[in-house]
Every structure is written in C-alpha cells, then in structure tokens.
Symmetry: C2
Subunit: 199 residues, 2 copies
C-alpha cells in the first residue's frame, strides 16, 4: 500500500472509513432535521457529505440503511447514566438528558422518531437503540438496591419507562410546550412507585 | 322538497350528511390501516366510500382535511372515564381502554399516530383530541379528592400522563410485545405518585 492514503494513515482501521461514515451520517441527520424523511435520498446525502454517490449506495444501499446506521453508530458509544448517589438524582439526571434531546423543534431525536414511522429498518434500529439504552440504565436500579434505597422486587425496565415515557408523550406525541420541570417531575413520580417510604 | 331523499327522511339534519361523513371517515380509517398514509387519497376514499369524488374534495379538500375530521368526529362523542369507586380502579379502567386501542397491529389509533407524523392538520387534530380526552379524565382526580383518597395539590394532567404514557411508549414507540398487565402496572405506578399512603 503505497498510495497517499496509507502514507498519511488515512487507511488505518477506523481511519478513512470511519471518517466517511461520520460525514455520511452527519449528512443524514442534518438533511432529516431540515427537510424530513422526504428530503432524504442517496443523492442528497452524497451531495451534502461530499462522499461519492457510488460509495454511499454500495455501503448503505438505501435510505432505510442510512437511518439504521445512524442508530447503530449512536449505539456504539460508551454512554452511561450519571451516578449521582441517589435513585431520584439518577432518574432526574437521565430525564434531563431525554428532555434536552427532545426539547427543540430541530431535535435530531424527534426527527429520527418521525422517520421511524416511514422506514421499517429505521424503526427496528431505533427500537434496538432504545432497548440498549434502557439496559444500560438498569444499573441505576442495582445501585439503588445496593444503597438500600429499594428493597424487594423492582422491574428496572418498568421503572425507567415510567420515568422517561411522560417526556416522549408530552413533547413528541402531544407536542406540549417544553418546560424544564417536566424532567424532574416525571423522574420523581417514577421514583415514588418503588421507594418504600413513598415520596 | 319532494325528492325521495326527503321522503325517506334522509335529508333531516344529521341524516344524509351525517351518513356521508360516516362513510367517508370509515373509508379513511380502513384505508389507513390497510395501506398507511401513502394509501390515502381523495380518489381512494371516494372509491372506497362510494361517495362522489367531487363531494369528498369539496367538503374535505385533501388528505389532511380528511384525517383532521376523523379526530373531530371522534371528539364529538360522549365518552367519559369509568367511575369504579377508587383512583386506582379508575386509572386501571382508563389504561385498559388505551391498551386495547393500541394492542393490535391493525390498530386504528396506531395508524392515526403514524399519520400524524405526515400531516400537520392531522397532528394538530390528534393533539386537540388528546387534550380533550385528558380534560375529560380529570374528573378521575376530583372524584378521588372528594372520596378523601388524595389530599393537597395534585396536577391531574401530570397524573393522567404518568398513567397512560408508558403504554404509548412501550406499544407505539418501542413496539414491545403487548402484555395485558402493562395497563394495570402503569396505572398503579401512577397512583403511587399521589396516594399519601404510598402503594
């Protein structure tokens, strides 16, 4: 390998390929936020990203493949829920992240949820992404148990959904005006359902 | 008015017009469940309903107008939440209705939610429909207060969203396998957040 790419290290694993992927996926999300699902196409993504159309087509095949890879890429990070020292604190911190991701009109998350209603591969990838995120959050419950905050059987997934679902419902489905306190309120309401002392 | 329509009573207020509307809106929801938003058009609705294309166009104008009227028609009913004699009972009964409306693959409600991501008039009408439904449900909280089950300030909308949102999140957004107990679990978790004795 004597081409300039290898000389400059662009072909090392995770190098050029990873940068191409990042440029393409950035183009997907920016087009999606600007123009919605109907604004997405192999051609538009190639033009926006500066990556050759044939490369985009070969690697991602179609819009569903592009959207699915946005979630796959997002799932490959090392995100973990904040460890604040209390169940309520952890749920509030989590909900503040969810709230921030959904608050704005130009929210990428909102745009991806909308796109999931148009593309079966995108829907499947979004659901796998969420399942992974909720699984990572289950440590919030095991930490609370280790601290003695909760006793007995607690369904971690159920608790986490109780905390987060009101934000998706109010901000995405019902399009209520975002208010910062929604995040903390929903977190506290959920904690009430498992803390033996009530709230 | 000597035509046969008037003789048979078809032109009385709420008669022929109401039946035409019902046929058209039935066609809208059945097409939506079968073929999704892309299967909806003035022509398809006219053909399915047997109502003349010009009539459909004049009265509803476009697909957005048709979808908005589905919600307007649904909002015109006299639905009220069940009065079971307890806060938990009322929330469980409400959640069982929500669960039933979302459970099936062929759910009209699911299809309408998906369509609301394609049409601004449909989205606005769905949100107004939900706002009206949640307002009607607030009596659940005032009855609980009258019975002495809850004391102090309770945000009725917040409580009702805490009860219902997990069902929308799990069944619509996350596409989890429906399980009957989800309805009761979410209702009980929400009740925990306001009952002074905990749960």
């Amino acid at each position: 390998m004597t081409d300039s790419a290898s000389a400059t290290g662009l072909r090392r694993p995770g190098g050029r390929t990873a940068r191409t992927r990042a440029r393409v996926l950035d183009a997907v999300t920016s087009l999606l936020v600007e123009a919605g699902f109907d604004g997405l196409s192999i051609d538009a993504v190639a033009e926006r990203s500066g990556v050759h159309r044939a490369t985009v087509y070969r690697r991602w095949r179609d819009v569903g493949g592009l959207l699915a890879d946005v979630f796959d890429a997002a799932a490959g990070d090392d995100w973990a829920p904040a460890d604040t020292g209390s169940l309520v604190g952890d749920l509030v911190a989590l909900n503040r992240e969810v709230f921030t991701s959904l608050r704005d009109e130009s929210s990428v998350t909102r745009a991806l949820i909308a796109a999931s209603f148009r593309s079966a591969p995108a829907a499947a990838a979004l659901r796998e992404f969420w399942r992974d995120r909720y699984r990572r959050c289950e440590v919030v419950v095991s930490r609370a148990r280790a601290r003695g905050e909760i006793v007995g059987a607690v369904d971690a997934h159920r608790l986490l959904v109780t905390a987060t679902a009101p934000l998706y419902h109010r901000l995405v489905l019902m399009a209520e005006q975002p208010r910062e306190e929604m995040a903390e309120q929903a977190a506290r309401d959920a904690a009430c359902s498992v803390l033996p002392t009530g709230c």
